[in-house]
């Protein structure tokens, strides 16, 4: 009995965890937290760093908020969330500046802007404020991994085409003509648009395939009935 409960709970935690990675991916599906997704992703490294920062902030704040959710009075909850989040963000900001000054410089103000990232406040309000600690942390980890994944996908393409490198390693040799647009602002918009288009395309393809299979199955049974 007890193990069954555990299993169920594990399953639920697992679900909360995976959903953020793909099914409810914050960038590609929910289209949230766009500013950093586009602003800092002109290189893969930036994407990873931003993702890590968000992971830290989101997990810590989700933990704290879900822990305190019954103590926080409803009318001031948003303000308290902001205070909590801002504290963690400032911590990340200073730590990064101390440990990796170059990275800190290339991420610019966007580390600080994590405070107002719609994703984080959104998760705090929509999930952590209403669920238990375990679920909230699972959700936070899943969401930030999904977020990081998206940033890496965007950053990877932009760096590869825009600079001919990946994590600084040259991909195409010295005569490569970089597509400067990719690391310029329009490139960010266009890359994300292209990803969304590709996902829609593959989704439609797989749905069509499913439909065809279903049709084929139906024809088969009907044919049998006729015979």
């Amino acid at each position: 009995m007890a193990t069954k409960m555990d299993d169920e709970e594990k399953q639920k935690l697992y679900d909360e965890f995976v959903k953020g990675i793909w099914r409810e991916n914050p960038v590609f599906i929910q289209v949230l937290g766009l500013c950093p997704s586009l602003a800092v992703t002109n290189s893969l490294m930036n994407g990873i760093a931003m993702g890590a920062a968000v992971l830290f902030v989101l997990v810590c704040s989700s933990f704290l908020i879900s822990l305190l959710r019954n103590v926080i009075p409803k009318p001031v909850r948003i303000s308290i969330y902001i205070v909590v989040i801002a504290t963690f963000v400032t911590a990340v900001d200073f730590t990064l500046a101390a440990v990796a000054p170059d990275l800190h410089k290339s991420l610019g103000a966007f580390i600080a802007l994590i405070v107002v990232n719609c994703l984080i406040l959104g998760r705090a309000e929509a999930f952590a404020g209403r669920h238990g600690v375990k679920e909230s942390v699972a959700d936070a980890i899943g969401m930030s991994i999904g977020f990081t994944l998206a940033l890496c996908l965007i950053g990877g393409i932009r760096e590869a085409l825009g600079n001919g490198t990946l994590l600084g390693y040259s991909l195409f040799g010295p005569n490569f003509e970089p597509w400067v647009i990719m690391i310029l602002p329009p490139g960010g918009f266009l890359t994300l648009g292209a990803y969304l288009f590709l996902f829609a395309y593959f989704k439609e393809r797989s749905e069509e395939k499913k439909q065809r299979q279903a049709d084929a199955a139906r024809n088969l049974t009907e044919g049998r009935r006729a015979a």
């Binding site: 040799g173 490569f176 597509w179 400067v180």
Partner: protein, 339 residues
């Protein structure tokens, strides 16, 4: 009487139509580009023709693959994709690598047209979307110009000789120290040097393939206007606006600001006015709107050419005016009869 009834066709009135059709319009503009292509080839050699051709192939291929209608000619039949490709080719610098021209054509159609739903739905001029993409992606090749071929038969640069950069492998560049030339606007902006108006008028200057020969562009524009293939208000408004704004500045300080004739004859303003400002799809539908569009365009061109960072502004100005065209259309609805 029911004997022959099933042969009957029923449609709504009117049962008469005025002559011209959309594909015919496109055909006329295509015709008008032929002399411009020829002039480009004359001035910049055989390589220029290759560039135009490749850009066109890129556009046509993209249209055929992406438009979703691949039965027969599909949407190519209306000729608009062909036109987009040629116009894009004409706005490129002559020595650009062919793969970039091809990419530009494909981007022009994909990003400029197909995603919007095809002919008639796009907000931005497809050819210029392609060009803007190229300019932002490859700023250096897109601002490297070659001088006009001095003589067809001279041994130094005969017109059949093609710049080695043209044949760079896809995604790659050819690193050579080749002779480059500056455009009249570049010369004026960065080196304070003028270009004589006759050269501008006949096109014997550096620049995009199709933009240099002013006299030909004017003739093509007049021909198109006479065939009612274009809305004359748009180019007239654009050119007058450039004239007004640049003369004003010139009057204020003639040493710092170039005169209106130079502004009108140099760069892409004439080419843009004849072929791009007139694109019906991406410009205002109302007549008042046409004047507003032209005025705004001229303002932006003069503003950016003179106070901006770039020597030339026609492309960006047209795209910016395209962007506000929906707003212009809304604001300039004609007053309905009886209101």
């Amino acid at each position: 009487m029911k004997r022959h009834a099933p042969d009957l066709i029923i449609t709504t009135a009117p049962f008469l139509r005025e002559g011209s059709s959309t594909p015919e319009l496109m055909r006329q503009v295509l015709l008008a580009t032929i002399p411009v292509v020829a002039a480009g080839t004359w001035f910049f050699g055989f390589g220029a023709l290759l560039v135009i051709f490749t850009a066109t192939v890129g556009a046509v291929a993209a249209e055929w693959f992406l438009s979703g209608n691949r039965s027969g000619l599909g949407t190519l039949a209306d000729g608009s994709a062909l036109l987009t490709g040629i116009l894009l080719g004409l706005t490129l610098p002559p020595p650009i690598p062919l793969w970039m021209a091809f990419l530009g054509g494909a981007v022009a159609i994909a990003l400029g047209k197909v995603i919007w739903g095809g002919l008639g739905h796009n907000i931005f001029n497809p050819a210029l979307v392609g060009r803007a993409f190229l300019q932002a992606a490859f700023p250096e090749p897109m601002t490297t110009w070659s001088a006009p071929v001095s003589s067809w038969f001279s041994s130094s640069s005969p017109y059949v000789a093609v710049d080695p950069r043209t044949f760079a492998l896809p995604l790659m560049r050819v690193k050579t120290d080749v002779i480059t030339a500056a455009t009249p606007l570049g010369l004026a902006k960065f080196q304070g040097k003028g270009t004589d108006l006759w050269s501008l008028f006949f096109g014997n200057t550096g620049g995009s393939i199709g933009e240099t020969c002013a006299v030909l562009l004017i003739l093509c524009g007049l021909w198109l206007a006479s065939r009612r293939a274009l809305e004359w208000r748009l180019p007239v408004a654009a050119l007058s606006s450039v004239f007004v704004f640049s003369s004003t500045l010139h009057l204020i300080d003639s040493t710092r600001y170039p005169g209106p004739l130079f502004m009108l004859l140099s760069g892409g303003i004439l080419f843009g006015s004849v072929f791009m400002v007139t694109d019906p799809v991406t410009t205002p539908i109302t007549r008042t709107g046409a004047w507003v569009f032209g005025a705004g365009l001229g303002f932006l061109v003069v503003l950016i050419r003179i106070f901006g960072g770039l020597p030339e502004a026609v492309m960006f100005s047209i795209l910016l005016m395209n962007a506000v065209t929906p707003l212009i259309n809304r604001a300039t609805q004609p007053r309905t009869f009886g209101y």
